[in-house]
């Protein structure tokens, strides 16, 4: 089954594209990015997490909070068999207080800016400069969470960096935290090819193995090989033309896995 793609282009450099392959939907294009100036004034594009993914992460976290609180109460009640009821109430009161105010902050402090929900959605808290936030900043952004339940979504919706009140106070952002890309890099390039051609060929080689129909992959590789034969036939010298076109393409351009 081929790739069907629903594409939504939003303003201000936001591009969301989702593709369906064999009935499974996955994100195939860039998310919203905001530029900051890093060291030596070099531009860095932070993949800012929007209202949707952050709200979903928060929803998952509140489910986790409920489970932890319930587990604490049950644990305290079990303990009540062994200690006086007064101390059990103390445990429940103090424990719930700490869980209520510290659940998010503690997770972010110990997890490098990630809570359970953020881990599941691959999000992370960073400073406005893309660095690691200090403990104080993580505390600040979580202590005002109760206020953010009221005004946070609106603030995130109108802010290009999707910052809620806590983020503004702490000087933090929430970004997508994806694994480093490991796609083939071309070791040889036909003269005159620009970045666009290179990106297309690399993207094709990265996804050729996962294409459902090998015939489609072979047909697409053949088209690229035709172009290479016209631009730089010397790259194909010594290669067996009867072999798999995708393999020929890899050898001709000396594609190495990143």
């Amino acid at each position: 089954m081929g790739l069907t793609c629903l594409r939504i282009d939003a303003p201000a450099g936001c591009t969301y594209a989702w593709g369906s392959r064999n009935g499974e939907w996955s994100q195939v294009a860039e998310t919203r990015r905001e530029s900051i100036l890093g060291l030596d004034n070099i531009r860095l594009d932070l993949p800012v997490a929007g209202l949707g993914s952050r709200s979903l992460a928060a929803f998952l976290d509140y489910i986790g909070l409920g489970i932890v609180a319930a587990a604490w109460i049950v644990g305290s009640l079990v303990l009540a068999q062994m200690v006086a009821i007064g101390w059990t109430v103390v445990l429940v009161v103090a424990g719930l207080f700490v869980i209520d105010w510290g659940y998010f902050a503690l997770q972010e402090i110990l997890g490098g800016g990630r809570t359970l929900g953020k881990r599941l959605l691959k999000l992370r808290v960073v400073t406005a400069e893309g660095g690691t936030p200090a403990v104080g900043s993580l505390l600040i952004r979580n202590l005002v969470r109760s206020l953010d339940l009221l005004c946070g979504p609106l603030l995130m919706a109108i802010d290009p960096l999707s910052r809620r009140l806590g983020d503004r106070l702490a000087g933090t952002l929430v970004v997508h935290d994806r694994e480093r890309e490991r796609s083939p890099v071309l070791g040889r390039v036909p003269p005159g090819w620009g970045a666009r051609e290179l990106a297309v060929v690399e993207a094709f080689l990265a996804r050729a193995r996962t294409l459902g129909d090998p015939a489609v992959a072979g047909e697409m590789a053949e088209r690229i090989l035709t172009r290479i034969r016209g631009d730089a036939p010397e790259l194909l010298a010594g290669l067996d033309p009867a072999a798999d076109p995708v393999a020929i393409l890899r050898q001709a351009l000396q594609a190495e896995e990143g």
């Binding site: 070099i42 207080f97 690691t132 403990v135 104080g136 206020l147 890099v185 000396q254």
Partner: protein, 327 residues
Amino acid sequence: MDYSRFVRLRRPVWEAFEAELAATRGSLRKASYGTLEDMALRYRQVLHDHALATARFPGTAAARRLQSLALEGTRRLTGEGRQRPAGPRVFFSRTFPLAFQRQLGLLGITVALFLLAAVWGLTVAALRPAVGLALLGPDAVRGLEEGRLWTSSLVTTVPPAVSSSRIATNNISVALTAWTGGVLAGLVPLYVVLLNGLMLGAIVGVTMHYSLAAELLEFISAHGLLELTLIMVSAAAGMALGKAMVAAGDRPRAQALREASRDSLTVLLGCVPWFVVLAVVEVFVSPSTEVPASVKLVLGLALEGAFLALALRPVRLEVTTSTESTP
């Protein structure tokens, strides 16, 4: 430089940097100085390669790899998280007093507002006792009519430890709410200060009406002074946020808010252990008939004195060299 030459020449640097990031994944603090120096150098090289790749080869695998490598390097090597948090000793002997002393002006305003509200509450309760009684609730009023304070229920209806934990968590919640509410232009801490002042004045006025003021003052003498001080300190911390929000001065509002929130959070965190101590005193000492009033008063003054001595202790400013943006 063409793409393949760029990748061939620079790839060893990217791979070395990736390996260093992987090797120090657990904690950067355990890395040796030499490793850190190497990482800083390679981070700079990766950043420059990223800039070149973004401009010359946008969308290519190398550009995307450098993009994610530059972001990861920035996150791991820069930012506030590299600084080790100060331990409790440094916090209470240095960080907290410095932050507290920077907010003395706002604390002065808070205390003045509290006293005004207390005098107003006292006057209203003295002139119109019904208003004060309405604030206390029917159970407390019934107790007053029987010649006893409602405070005795603190230890008679529930175990002292339960009361103590409830009081501590309640007071800390009030302090946190006063602080967080500061971002609403300082209105919430203002409300907390005025309400507490008004309530105290009114309650003293009502107990005077029932000739129980001496008992009330004895009850609050051990914990009340510091408890009110801490509430006012928390409210002043909240007002610092409100001030930054409303009148940021010559700095961007975001920066003013960030600075104010750091200082005020430090002050707030410095108050938390005292709330716990006070909750224990309020339950185990304040209602006790075995502890003489003079001892309670001395304890209250000692607690207040200890807090103020810690908060106002002279701290010498250190000249530090900032390396914030250099990894």
